[in-house]
């Protein structure tokens, strides 16, 4: 079945629940099958399937939100500072990066997954999520940064202090 593994993996990360993800995938393929006549031959089928999935996801999340609140992380700093660039550990373990991703708010997580894992273009992401291109760019940048911050946090919690390296770099400069 086309794209099943990619869709399922993304769904798992988006919903953090394997059963919900499975349901979502089933609904996605059902919807794809029903509206197959609307698929334009020659266009990107992968993007089309993801678009359907995110459309379904919207409904699923609305249902889930009733039971648990989605918390948006607010960045009080606003502007990005050069010095505040989080330092990511050299070795990143799988569970660390997945845990870090889970901590990133959904609207950013969606974009990071679509851009970095599924490698869709900005235009495709904008169409999939039905948001403007500029929003894709800002959210991706924000999402990646949040992910880096979470990973830096993980490194600190392990007692690896990445700062000395930065200090060393500053000295040489």
């Amino acid at each position: 079945m086309p794209q099943l593994t990619d869709l399922y993996r993304t769904a798992c990360l988006l919903l953090r629940d394997r059963h919900e993800a499975e349901d979502l995938i089933q609904d996605t393929y059902l919807e794809a099958w029903k509206s197959f006549h609307r698929f334009e031959t020659g266009t990107n089928c992968r993007a089309w399937l993801f678009k359907i999935m995110f459309h379904r996801l919207h409904h699923v999340r609305r249902r889930l939100v009733k039971t648990s609140r989605v918390v948006t992380i607010d960045d009080p700093d606003g502007q990005v500072e050069l010095a505040a660039e989080p330092v990511v550990p050299q070795e990143i373990r799988d569970e660390d990066v997945l845990n870090a991703l889970a901590k990133v708010a959904v609207e950013f997580r969606d974009i990071v997954l679509l851009a970095d894992v599924e490698e869709f273009s900005y235009k495709e992401i904008a169409e999939t999520l039905r948001i403007p291109l500029g929003t894709v760019m800002s959210r991706l940048s924000r999402g990646r940064k949040l992910l880096r911050q979470e990973l830096a946090e993980v490194a600190r919690s392990y007692g690896i202090d990445p700062r000395p390296k930065q200090a060393g770099a500053a000295e040489t400069a």
Partner: protein, 355 residues
């Protein structure tokens, strides 16, 4: 001091674009500018490197996520479950058909048994006629096959995911015959679909034709008790100078049609029947609606096997030319700059085709 602040301003500007650079979304000029800056600025290139590290780690971690088989099964189940709606609408019709059949049965009891016999014979005769004419039109007159056998992958593609598995069976069970072509065809004016394999061997063309039974049966009188193969009765007939040997599977009729002698055709059908019957009865054939499978198969065909392959193919076809009216970009239907990005992403440069 001045230089330093200028540099940090510049770094700031570059870093704002690093995300787009990482996603290959920048114009060539801007990307070149960034590359130039990264070459001279260690801090920025370290920043880019850490971004790439996170991205790669994420890709790797996601790719390692297990995908249980139940997911696929679940999707298929769901698709199948969605069928009842269309089945329900036909249930009404089935009732009508059922009532009509009962009425017909009662009528035929009075009107004489021969009438029903005639009817089923007519249906079979029409199927046979269509099957034979399919062989005649498609294989003999239309010469709808290549002199050199089509590659198996191409035949499988033509057959679609549902019937592709049959190719191997036909190939294995008809030794001395080469499968030239396989496809699904129908005859103008008929809804009936035929799965048609055209084979060549023993100095002639031989067709293996399958078609759905839709509840019909072959007339009992023409089964040859002597030509039974592994419990399957072989049916024998001849039409328009062709010998036909057939059998019925749970849902399909299968025929071998050829100009060979009756004995030989029966022999070949006998060799083919058990394996073909077994394949036709597997779950893949019973469980799924052919429409779903076909739709999904079409879906899969829309996806290029790999972007890389597509680009390389276009580049080779255009002798490495990227831009211009006869360039690879035009061929792929994307802009010249987009193609250059993608090539860069695939580590190939203009006029240099990898492998």
């Amino acid at each position: 001091m001045n230089t330093l602040s200028f540099d940090s301003k510049r770094c700031e500007r570059i870093r704002l674009q690093l995300d787009s650079y990482l996603s290959n979304e920048l114009l060539v000029e801007t990307a070149t500018e960034i590359v130039r800056h990264l070459e001279s600025c260690e801090a920025c290139s370290r920043d880019l490197e850490s971004r790439m590290r996170v991205r790669d780690a994420l890709q790797r971690a996601v790719a390692k996520q297990p995908v249980p088989d139940s997911v696929r099964a679940g999707v298929l189940r769901k698709l199948r479950e969605s069928q009842p709606r269309s089945l329900l609408s036909t249930t009404g019709r089935r009732w009508a058909v059922g009532l009509a059949a009962i009425a017909f049965l009662l009528f035929s009891l009075f009107a004489g048994e021969w009438l029903s016999l005639r009817r089923s014979e007519q249906l079979i005769a029409s199927i046979l006629r269509l099957g034979v004419s399919d062989h005649l039109i498609c294989a003999i007159k239309g010469h709808n096959y290549p002199e050199v056998a089509n590659p198996p992958d191409q035949i499988r593609n033509k057959l679609g995911v549902r019937y592709a598995v049959l190719l191997q069976v036909v190939q294995e069970r008809l030794p001395g015959f080469e499968v030239l072509e396989g496809h699904v065809c129908s005859i103008p004016g008929s809804d009936r679909k035929y799965v048609h394999f055209i084979t060549r061997g023993q100095g002639t063309i031989l067709s293996v034709i399958l078609t759905e039974r839709n509840g019909a049966s072959l007339p009992k009188g023409k089964f040859l008790a002597s030509a039974e193969s592994a419990g399957l009765s072989i049916y024998e007939d001849h039409l328009s100078g062709m010998e036909i040997a057939g059998f019925e599977s749970a849902q399909y009729f299968a025929f071998v049609v050829s100009e060979l002698s009756q004995k030989r055709v029966l022999q070949l059908a006998g060799a083919l029947a058990p394996a073909l019957n077994e394949t036709l009865q597997t779950t893949a054939f019973q469980g799924l609606n052919s429409y779903v499978l076909d739709a999904l198969f079409k879906l899969r065909q829309e996806i290029p096997t790999s972007q890389r392959g597509e680009i390389i193919q276009a580049l080779s076809a255009c002798k490495g030319r990227v831009g211009g009216t006869d360039g690879a970009a035009t061929r792929l239907g994307i802009s010249r700059t987009t193609l250059i990005y993608r090539m860069r992403r695939l580590e190939s440069t203009p006029n240099c085709i990898p492998e």
